[in-house]
Symmetry: none
DNA sequence: AGGAAATCGGGTAATTAGGGTT
DNA sequence: GTTGTCCTAATTACCCGATTTC
């Protein structure tokens, strides 16, 4: 899976699908947790993350949504 | 029922109403029960839940409100 | 260029999951 | 069948100041 960064900040794949980059705060609101918790997920390898040149983290929307749909994400 | 994740992290329904996520403790206080009881409601399928990558549960406020309005809102 | 908001780090207190039990 | 409590380990939330982003 190769991704290309466009000037508008989106990610493009070979399929043409665009992938938005989410901030820690956005991911945090999705899961109802603190932004710090999202960073901890990145540190423990639960979520892949991209770092800005200033060490801030960004997350691929597709990865986040995959976690939401992950095994056991809904239901019990 | 289809939920859509907005850029701000909220869940939207077709009605346009946004949904925020509640912690087990918040749901427990709403119903005046122990958080463990809320946990069991999720396990028995009485209320749908979202799981964090670390297996903790979050609850859609709209689902919780629906339960408050009367039994039988889900399933039976 | 100035200000408000967000995101780093660390450190510590509070919450949660899960099992077994009452 | 349902709920509340006890226990431990794991996870998360809130505190601070400094840095980055918009």
């Amino acid at each position: 899976m190769t991704s290309i960064i466009s000037p508008d900040g989106t990610f493009s794949t070979e399929t043409g699908a665009t992938d938005r980059l989410l901030t820690p705060g956005e991911v945090a609101r999705i899961f109802g947790v603190d932004p710090k918790t999202v960073n901890r997920w990145a540190l423990t390898g639960k979520v892949p993350s991209i770092r800005t040149p200033s060490r801030q983290r960004r997350y691929l929307e597709s990865e986040v949504r995959a976690l939401l749909r992950g095994p056991g994400a809904f239901g019990a």
